[in-house]
Symmetry: C2
């Protein structure tokens, strides 16, 4: 639902991303702050020049209070990271992108990560979803998180259905400060929404303050997430001050398009993305069917060059499968100049996806039992 009265050609809510997204318009609409070159320089300085390629490439687009949290960091007050996932399906490439960026933040800023799996929300959202299944998926998804190489010493999973008394208490405290009319406006709830969903924003806000409860002091929180998740934090930021906690800061990533034309990767369109559980064969097939910026014929492409600016295969290289900037530039130029054809370019992506999948799946196997140890039950 688009709650803005202004009519746009795109829709961005926590549940739906559709259309050609104009990010500057979206940033203005959401009221977040764009990432400026000054901010990029500041991060670069703090990470000893080792900027993540998602920042270098402008995939990290906006923030809330990032300057404030970096001030805290510089004055010796470490922040914790909070992100999460609604476990309605297996994990796919679209989920991994912000998590990979989160891992980089953990490494560079020596930050604890609180990762929430909202198995309750996914159960509540759809009549046909079973609780047992969403909890099972929570563990599956958490295994994918760990497989990305997060530091197990500093990674804590909150599985909503298994959360402990301290967690529930802070959620109750938050819920006292949020009225139905506030939440209705933000999420587009109606009178037919079930009361579990209506309550859920309190559960989703709780990890912003939970680390403070656990540590017994105010802990600054940075939320790395797709910009579509921003509405969740507006109510939380309003509540924070009234509860005596810091407002959570946020850093927002752009979406990476799906393999098919239009829209972001989505589990509900399985052809648009690759699940971490897909077989190599299926993954290869999906990549080969991807929407590209290629011309109608090879002859035409040689003559006019390809259009990497509208190519989803190129977008995948940029966001996930080519970390070397000069090689990414070369790919762009070779495409533009008509040297690189879509066939081999797709094949190479498919090969990299398969290598990634095989490595990732082996790590998943290895870390399967580890998740339970990292679930906080306090």
């Amino acid at each position: 639902m688009n709650t803005d009265e202004e009519s746009d050609d795109f829709i961005v809510t926590p549940w739906e991303v559709e259309g050609e997204i104009d990010y500057s318009k979206l940033i203005k609409k959401f009221g977040t702050t764009p990432i400026t070159p000054e901010m990029v320089s500041r991060i670069k300085k703090l990470t000893n020049g080792d900027l993540h390629y998602m920042i270098r490439r402008g995939l990290v687009i906006s923030h809330r209070d990032l300057d404030w949290i970096l001030n805290k960091y510089e004055s010796g007050e470490k922040f914790a990271l909070y992100t999460g996932r609604g476990p309605s399906e297996n994990t796919h490439i679209g989920h991994l992108i912000p998590w990979q960026f989160t891992k980089w933040l953990q490494d560079k800023f020596d930050a604890d990560l609180y990762f929430q799996l909202t198995d309750d929300e996914k159960f509540l959202l759809k009549l046909e979803n079973s609780y047992q299944e969403t909890t099972r998926l929570a563990y599956e998804n958490a295994t994918d998180v760990l497989a990305l190489g997060f530091n197990p010493e500093k990674t804590h999973f909150i599985i909503d259905s298994e959360a402990g008394v301290k967690f529930r208490k802070i959620a109750t405290e938050i819920s006292k400060k949020i009225t139905f009319s506030t939440i209705k406006g933000i999420f587009g709830f109606t009178e037919s929404t079930n009361i579990g969903m209506i309550y859920h924003p309190a559960i989703q806000a709780a990890p912003c303050f939970y680390p403070s409860v656990l540590k017994g002091r105010n802990v600054p929180i940075l939320i790395p997430a797709g910009i579509d998740q921003d509405p969740y934090w507006r109510a939380t930021r309003d509540v924070a001050k009234r509860l005596g906690y810091y407002k959570p800061a946020a850093i927002h990533l752009q979406f990476t398009p799906g393999l098919e034309e239009g829209g972001k990767m989505s589990a509900s369109k399985p052809e648009s993305t690759i699940f971490t559980t897909d077989s190599s064969k299926l993954a290869e097939k999906k990549v080969k069917r991807a929407f590209t910026g290629g011309r109608d014929t090879i002859e035409e492409q040689k003559r006019l060059g390809g259009q990497p600016e509208k190519c989803n295969v190129f977008a995948w290289y940029r966001s996930s499968f080519e970390s070397d900037d000069s090689l990414l530039d070369k790919r762009w130029n070779d495409c533009k100049s008509g040297t690189l054809m879509c066939g081999p370019c797709k094949q190479e992506l498919a090969d990299r996806v398969v290598i990634f999948l095989e490595t990732h799946q082996a790590k998943r196997q290895e870390l399967k039992e580890k998740v339970a140890e990292l679930v906080i039950r306090e």
Copy 2:
């Protein structure tokens, strides 16, 4: 809030009881079933003739599905009892009355009791309530329950803020089946109600199904409570079938009036009742100020007799401080005939209240540490 369109001279909701209550009207309005002489005979048979005086005196006025639950009992399927308290204040005599009846049910039907203390709800209800304080009161109130002599082997406290994962899961399952519009109608919530309160009916319904979860089989539930609590169970009964559980049955008690004129005992009118923590001196003072059915002068009372039918002191004897029917009848007749004056009648009640308080307070002291052992945290 009176959700009925018909205008009455009384208001009965889970939060408010005002005016002269016409119980037959109320039963009709709530849609419950009156307790018939046949039902009384049936209970008498099942308890070997040992009827509780509250049943004998018509203080137990209505029910839902009591016949069904007695059928279950007779066919060997034991029921569990569920009642509770919102710990906003210390316990007073008005709370003890249904609990005393509940204890009798526990003894006679060898039933487990699940007693819920909604410290979260009381925290959520009023801006000024602190969570720490409502939790403290939950333990205080639970001590009063135990002091009434419940079997500790069969008594389980659910303190909402400390409830475990299984309890929260069943609450989430319930919440999926209740929409805002349903709950709004029952409780009179508005858009300015906080989302914690909106969610709370799911928490309050959870103990209806929690014993089934714990036992791994469907357990019939009987809820003994003031009839003002009935609205809570309407939504629950609707939900039960859809979740595959038995609908909870209920048995309703009439209110006992406060010591002052009009209304039921209420913690918000401390002169209307006696708290279990009141000193003997204060208790005696409150009883002596009670509203009675006495005449303006002693001379007049001797001539015309008193009016026990509108006397709150007599009502206290009937509901709590005279278990012997023939002595209660004698008191009625002595009052009616002008033999018994209000002064000595009040003094005798005050003496009995003081004896009760002293015994009860000693038991509270003795059982103070016991509550924590009986809190379920599953």
